[in-house]
C-alpha cells in the first residue's frame, strides 16, 4: 500500500548568531492511511520542528532540505498558495496552546465558518450545518451560544475542542496533533483523549501525535518514533517498544517516569546529565554523554538506524555488537 505521508531525509536547520542549530537531521519515515503514529521526545528533540517544517510554518531563519511527500506531492516544493489549498483541508494541525492558536477578535463560529467557505466553497447555510454536525460529534454543549462567543470566553479544554473541531471540518487525510493535551488538566485530558480514540475508530485519517507523555502514546498509538537530538533513535510498534525497548534512551525514558502501576519506594532511575546542545552536536551518538552502555566508538562514530525486525528500527552501536 502506498503511504499517505512520508518524509525522506528531512533536515531542518536554523541560522542563529551563535551558529547553525541542527533541529532535525536525516529524518525518514512513512505513514499509512488510518494509522496513528506517536512521536516522542523531550524538548529540543526536534519533534515539533519536523512538522512545522512540513507545514511550511518554520521561523524566518529556518531552512529545510529533503522531501515531505503527502499523497505523492512534495510539500517542501509548494509555494504558499498551493500550500494554503492543502493546509486546513486535507492536512490539518492541532497545536498545544489553544489560547494563542485561535484569533482573539473573531467569533468562534466565524473562524470555523471561514475554514469551510475557503476550502470547500460552501454557502453559509451549508457550512453552518456541517459545523453543528462536527461540534455535536465532539460533544460541545450549547453549540448555538458557543458559536457566537469569542475564544477568551472558552475554558482551555473547550478551546482545544474547538481546535479539534476546526481540524475535522474538512475531514483531513492527515491530522497532526502537537502536544494536544499537555496544557490541560488530567480529567480534561481524559475527555480529549477519549475524543481522539473515537476519531481513530470513525475516520480513516492518519494521525500523528506529538507528545512527551509515554502514557498518552500507550493508550492511543499504533506505532512510535522516539527522537533524541533531532534524530530518530528508535521506531517500532507500540506493544514492542513498551515491552522490549531496544535503545538505551528509550529504556531510560521508561525507567525514569514515576508511574501509577509501579512498585512503591523504588528510586527513579534518572537519566544523568542534560539534553544535547543542538548547536554543538557531538560527532558520535548524541546520547553518548548520558548513556549507561557507552563505548569509545559511540563518541566518534554516529550509529545509523538499522532494521531489527519488520517495522523495528534503532540506532545504537551496542545493539549491533549484541
Amino acid at each position: 500500500m502506498n503511504p499517505i505521508f512520508s518524509l525522506e531525509n528531512l533536515n531542518v536547520r536554523f541560522a542563529t548568531k551563535e551558529g547553525e542549530v541542527a533541529a532535525v537531521s536525516d529524518l525518514s519515515f512513512s505513514l499509512q492511511r488510518g494509522e496513528c503514529l506517536g512521536i516522542v521526545g523531550e524538548s529540543g528533540s526536534g519533534k515539533s520542528q519536523t512538522f512545522l517544517a512540513t507545514m511550511g510554518l518554520l521561523a524566518a531563519n529556518g531552512s529545510t532540505t529533503g522531501r515531505a511527500l503527502f499523497q505523492g506531492q512534495d510539500l517542501l516544493k509548494l509555494d504558499r498558495d498551493a500550500l494554503n489549498k492543502i493546509r486546513g483541508d486535507r492536512l490539518a494541525m492541532i497545536f498545544q496552546d489553544s489560547g494563542t492558536s485561535l484569533t482573539p477578535h473573531m467569533k468562534v463560529g466565524d473562524q470555523l465558518m471561514e475554514v469551510l467557505t475557503t476550502h470547500k466553497g460552501l454557502s453559509v447555510e451549508a457550512a453552518r450545518k456541517r459545523i453543528l454536525e462536527v461540534m455535536e460529534s465532539i460533544r460541545i454543549p450549547e453549540v448555538d451560544k458557543r458559536l457566537s462567543q469569542y475564544p477568551h470566553e472558552f475554558s482551555g479544554g473547550m478551546r482545544q475542542r474547538v481546535m479539534i473541531a476546526m481540524a475535522l471540518l474538512c475531514e483531513p487525510d492527515l491530522l497532526i496533533a502537537d502536544e494536544p493535551t499537555t496544557a490541560l488538566d488530567v480529567t480534561v485530558q481524559a475527555q480529549i483523549l477519549q475524543l481522539f480514540k473515537a476519531l481513530k475508530h470513525h475516520t480513516n485519517s492518519a494521525i500523528v501525535l506529538i507528545t512527551h507523555d509515554l502514557g498518552v502514546v500507550a493508550g492511543l498509538c499504533d506505532r512510535v518514533i522516539v527522537m533524541y537530538g533531532g534524530r530518530v533513535v528508535e521506531e517500532g510498534a507500540v506493544a514492542d517498544i513498551f515491552a522490549r525497548p531496544k535503545h538505551p534512551y528509550t529504556k531510560g525514558l521508561l525507567n525514569c517516569m514515576p508511574r501509577l502501576d509501579q512498585d512503591l519506594d523504588t528510586e527513579l532511575q534518572a537519566i544523568p546529565g542534560q539534553p544535547p546542545n543542538l548547536q554543538k552536536l557531538p560527532p558520535g551518538c548524541a546520547f553518548a554523554d548520558r548513556c549507561a552502555v557507552v563505548t569509545d566508538r559511540c563518541k566518534t562514530e554516529r550509529p545509523v538506524l538499522r532494521d531489527y525486525a519488520p517495522g523495528e528500527r534503532a540506532a545504537c552501536h551496542a545493539l549491533e555488537a549484541a
Binding site: V188, Q189, Q194, A218, C256, D261
Partner: protein, 325 residues
C-alpha cells in the same frame, strides 16, 4: 510523630469587582474555603488538584505571602496569622518555598553564589564571609551543583539546573519545612526524575518536612507519605498515600486516578476511565452544597442542598462526600 504545622479552617477569599459601572459590586472569589490539615516532622504531604483548585494559594497562605481571610496556621504551636512582619521574618528561616518556573524565580543579575547567599544575608546579617561561602559550597554540593558554577548566571543553566539552584537557596538556612509549588512540572521527564530523587534525598538527609503541591499524581505517589486532594478550594480527601491510591473513597479522587495515563499499552487500553463531564465551575460562582456535584457521577439532591463535612473513614483517612460508604 510530632506535628510541626497545623492548619485550621483556612480561608482565602479575594474580592473581585463585577458588573458594569452602575451595578458594580464586590464578589468574593473563594480560592481556599475552609481547609484543615497537619504536617508531621520529616513528612512529605502531597497537595493535588487541577488548575484553579486553590493549591498554590494554599501554599502561599501558609507562608503568609497572601493574608488568609480567616483560620489559623499553627507553626510549632504558634499562630502565624497576625504576626508582625518583623516577627514573621524570623519564622521564614524555618519555612521556605520553591516555585514552578525555575528561571523566573531566580534574579538574572545575580550569580549562583549570590542567589544562594541572599537568604543568609537576610537571616544572619552578621555572618562572616568565609562562613557564608562554606555554607554555600556545602549546599551546592548537596544539590549536585559543581563548585565551578558559583560565578555563573541563571541564564547559563538549563531548567533542571535552575531548579537545583532554587532548591539550594531554599535549603541554605536549613529550614524545617519547604513548600514546593509544582517544582518539576516545567521540566522534561528525564530531568524531572533527577529533581524528584534530589528532593527525596534532602528530605531524608535533613529530616525535612515537605508540602509538595502538584497536579501530577504519579509524582505525588512517588514522593509523598500522605496526600490531600483539593477541588475548588475545598478538601475532598486526605489519606496516607497507600490508602488513597489503593482505595480512593471520593468520586473525584477516583476520577483523577483513573485519568492518569499509564505507559503500558495493555494496561492503558484495558483500564476503566471515569471521564468527568464538563469543566471546573467558576470559583466566583461555585455550586451549592458539594462543589463537585456538577461533575460527579454519584450526585443526588442531598449534594445540592448540603455541604459534605470531612468525615473520618478510619486509618487517618478523611473524606468529604455524602456517598463515600
Amino acid at each position: 510523630m510530632s506535628t510541626v504545622l497545623k492548619v485550621e479552617n483556612l480561608k482565602v477569599h479575594f474580592p473581585i469587582k463585577t458588573g458594569g459601572v452602575l451595578k458594580r459590586r464586590m464578589v468574593p472569589l473563594k480560592a481556599v474555603d475552609g481547609v484543615s490539615f497537619e504536617v508531621n516532622a520529616g513528612e512529605c504531604l502531597g497537595v493535588v488538584g487541577e488548575s484553579g483548585c486553590g493549591k498554590s494559594t494554599l501554599g502561599r497562605a501558609v507562608l503568609q505571602l497572601i493574608k488568609p481571610t480567616s483560620g489559623r496556621v499553627l507553626w510549632l504551636g504558634e499562630d502565624l496569622c497576625g504576626l508582625s512582619p518583623e516577627h514573621m521574618r524570623q519564622k521564614r528561616r524555618d519555612l521556605q518555598l520553591v516555585f514552578q518556573d525555575p528561571l523566573a524565580s531566580l534574579n538574572p543579575r545575580l550569580t549562583v553564589a549570590e542567589i544562594i547567599r541572599e537568604p543568609l544575608y537576610a537571616a544572619e546579617p552578621d555572618l562572616g564571609r568565609d562562613e557564608a561561602d562554606r555554607r554555600i559550597d556545602e549546599m551546592m554540593a548537596a544539590v549536585g551543583l559543581l563548585p565551578e558554577m558559583r560565578n555563573r548566571y541563571p541564564h547559563e543553566f538549563s531548567g533542571g539546573q535552575c531548579q537545583r539552584i532554587a532548591i539550594a537557596r531554599a535549603m541554605v538556612l536549613k529550614p524545617k519545612l519547604i513548600i514546593c509549588d509544582e517544582p518539576v512540572s516545567a521540566l522534561d521527564v528525564s530531568i524531572q526524575a533527577q529533581v524528584i530523587n534530589l528532593l527525596r534525598k534532602l528530605q531524608r538527609d535533613y529530616g525535612l518536612s515537605l508540602i509538595f503541591i502538584s497536579h501530577d499524581l504519579s509524582v505525588v505517589r512517588h514522593l509523598c507519605q500522605r496526600v490531600m486532594v483539593l477541588y475548588l478550594g475545598h478538601m475532598m480527601e486526605l489519606a496516607t498515600r497507600d490508602d488513597l491510591f489503593a482505595k480512593p473513597l471520593h468520586p473525584y479522587t477516583q476520577a483523577l486516578i483513573s485519568a492518569v495515563p499509564i505507559p503500558d499499552p495493555a494496561k492503558e487500553r484495558d483500564k476503566e476511565i471515569i471521564v468527568l463531564s464538563g469543566d471546573l465551575p467558576s470559583p466566583m460562582n461555585p455550586p451549592s452544597g458539594c462543589v463537585f456535584r456538577t461533575r460527579c457521577p454519584k450526585a443526588t439532591t442531598k449534594c445540592i442542598k448540603d455541604v459534605p463535612m470531612p468525615e473520618d473513614a478510619g486509618n487517618i483517612h478523611t473524606v468529604a462526600c455524602h456517598h463515600w460508604r
